[in-house]
Symmetry: C2
Subunit: 94 residues, 2 copies
């Protein structure tokens, strides 16, 4: 059996966080596509919950020393910018 090493774990932590961030990106994309449909609510609560969950994972990885704080901020920051785009789009449509 191959020995697990710290760099592998750092890589895996980053991959997991990016995969989870990507799921939220896709959720936001779905929301953006559905904005023009009538009766289609912004699933803000779902998105907020998912963002919170991811932020806890990111923090946990930082506390374990598996990812740099700066990388964590970038992951969350890119999602926050995407969410801001969604809100802007929503405001233009309502």
């Amino acid at each position: 059996m191959a020995e697990i090493k710290i760099p592998d774990l750092e890589q895996k932590a980053l991959e997991l966080l990016r995969a989870d961030a990507d799921k939220i990106f896709k959720l936001i994309d779905v929301q953006m596509e559905n904005l023009t449909m009538p009766q289609c609510p912004l699933y803000e609560e779902v998105l907020d919950t998912q963002m919170f969950g991811l932020s806890r994972e990111v923090e946990f990885a930082v506390r374990l020393g598996l990812i740099e704080e700066e990388i964590g901020r970038e992951i969350m920051g890119s999602l926050e910018r995407k969410l801001a785009d969604l809100h802007e789009l929503y405001n233009q449509n309502n």
Copy 2:
């Protein structure tokens, strides 16, 4: 500088998760002590949010292979039982 090893990281992950679980235990204790006071709401939403956050940390640690799934279930399970005690106490008082 001391080299970080996988067993250290497993130990650290477990300590972080237990520390976070302990914070929620304390939140529940505070709620239990305040149940008899008038106008003191059950901070269910706060507790739910904290439980969700911890569950995401636990899952993340399991996905990284740092803790066993069974240990993760024990951590969440002990909190869920404590929460059930709180609800029972609340129902007796209302």
